[in-house]
């Protein structure tokens, strides 16, 4: 043992320059790992500004968790989070894949590049910008969507899209499609460039048209990527995106627009309920981790079964 340890230290000393280059890991220790002490306050009645050390605070066991789980607001936030998460996954999945297929079919290289460049733009602007733009577009007075629907005679009264609790989840899913489809398509497009041209040539010989080739060559070829990404998104079911929902939400859509993360934020920081906020964070992390674990296990299982 001793020789092992001294050998280890010797190597470490010999690699001291690499150790110096590893120092940025201190940032993770300070800003990512150090805050984990805060999980302890979930089991306390934590009060700020009383000059108490962490261990002088009042310990309350699982009281915070019990009071969270008996609060109906928690369950409505959970339902909202999962509903939005599911809708977002379905919509952005279908649109991203369709967009990638359509872009892949463009023959004019310049047009293809232009479409791609344009489609990336919303991804790079902030959600603040995106929300401001979407509020204008959906506005009941003078918004373009209402204008078009009115002109086409589809509706005879303007619809306040952003103020309707019943469609708020759809608004979130739609905004996700608008903002991230183009960027998300990158991954499929790169999978498509890896398809062997011979497959398309033999499809030509068999007399397959463009549409046929999409369904018989392109889509089957990128199926592994599609499946992997789908399984991985299950792990993100609860991370609906704080900024997006928080900014798109209005006073009218509180009931369907409060996700777990927003609930934590408002509950914890606005009403100084630090302990309950920490308890909620722990719950959120635990479920997210479980989902990620499940999705990774699924991936591994499929891999062994040769589903991909």
């Amino acid at each position: 043992m001793r020789t092992n340890a001294s050998k280890w230290l010797k190597t470490l000393y010999a690699q001291r320059q690499l150790v110096v280059l590893s120092l940025p890991v201190l940032f993770l220790l300070v800003f990512n790992y150090y805050p984990l002490w805060g999980w302890l306050i979930a089991f306390q009645d934590y009060k700020i500004g009383k000059n108490l050390t962490l261990f002088q605070q009042k310990w309350v066991g699982l009281d915070n968790f019990i009071s969270i789980f008996t609060d109906s607001r928690f369950y409505s936030a959970l339902v909202n989070t999962m509903g939005m998460g599911l809708l977002k996954i379905i919509f952005s999945y279908l649109f991203t894949l369709t967009l990638a297929v359509l872009i892949n079919e463009i023959r004019l290289l310049r047009f293809k590049k232009a479409v791609q460049t344009i489609s990336y733009l919303p991804h790079f602007v902030s959600w603040v910008v995106a929300a401001n733009l979407l509020f204008v577009v959906f506005s009941p007075d003078n918004g373009i969507i209402n204008l078009i629907l009115m002109r086409l005679g589809i509706i005879d009264q303007t619809i306040p899209f952003m103020g309707m609790p019943s469609i708020f989840w759809l608004v979130v899913a739609f905004s996700e499609v608008w903002k991230s489809s183009g960027y998300g398509a990158i991954i499929y497009l790169s999978a498509m460039t890896a398809i062997d041209p011979v497959l398309y040539e033999s499809a030509d010989i068999d007399g397959a048209g463009r549409v046929r080739k999409i369904f018989s060559v392109t889509l089957p070829s990128i199926m592994p990527t599609v499946k992997i990404l789908l399984v991985l998104t299950i792990g993100r079911l609860l991370s609906v995106g704080f900024e997006q929902v928080y900014l798109l939400r209005t006073a009218m859509t509180m009931s369907t627009g409060t996700t777990l993360e927003i609930y934590i934020y408002e509950f914890a920081l606005r009403y100084a309920q630090y302990s309950k906020g920490a308890a909620l964070s722990i719950f959120n992390s635990a479920i997210s981790l479980a989902l990620i674990f499940i999705s990774h296990m699924t991936l591994k299982y499929f891999d062994q079964e040769g589903v991909f």
Binding site: L21, W37, G38, L121, F124, Y274
Partner: protein, 301 residues
Amino acid sequence: MTLSAKRADAIFDVINTVTLLFVCICTLYPFMNAVAVSLNDSTDSIRGGIYLLPRAPTIKNYIYILRDTPTIPHASFVSAARALAGTAVSVPLTLMLAYVLTRRDFILRGVITKLVVVTMYVSGGLVPIFLSYRILGLMNSFWVYVLPGAISAFNVLVMRSYLAGIPYDLVESAKLDGASEYRILFTVMLPLAMPVIATIGLFVSVTQWNQWFDTMLYNSGAKNLSTLQYELKKVLDSSQGMTSDAIAVEAAASTGQEVYRVTSISLRAAMTIISTVPIVCVYPFLQKYFVKGLTLGAVKG
């Protein structure tokens, strides 16, 4: 191929082109509308009905916002400063860490890899992080913009998978020549890693420029640390009547006899454009880099 099959393909091309043009219009229209409104006379905009072109063209909105409100130029300056400082701190640190993670002989490689990867899945959560940053003295300080996000696991892994593609022989032969690790990193690896450095630089600077939540959470008490995105967020709130501390949305200014009022509609449009322009100036030119970087990160990360 038969004639009818050829015709079917041609029809497909037309439908495809039209669909994609429609997608492009849907993507761009909100921005074009904001440009039109921001370049339209402010009082006239209240009447509504401006879609793609300004009805009463003027650049006064921009002039008044950038010259006569003290808040927005300063907030833009803070946003630019954090983008620059954030990138300057984050990129070299990410490169260093990514490099040691490619060194198969490095004795701490396994431990550090785990430390990096775990942060992708485990976070202290809002309250613990908030309380910790308070203790660390990061409230009402510029550093809260730069330091906490300096190392991101995703960026480290993207950078690492790129560096791992550079032939290891280069490192070995440099070592045989007696080069120090620092020298290997900065004179051998760095020039070869420029594409991924550009990608990470883009990611970091755009993320920094777009941040508003940390301003609200940590620096809402320090007016001189407000960012452009946070100011724009306040405009969003005030237009929904949800806030009490919105900035003065009517920047009335008198020049000679004339009084020009910047209404919230114009303010919102102009600020949206001001915060979009720098992004439009940067990302199209780095496209080939981030497309490559993203694909690598997704496949191997």
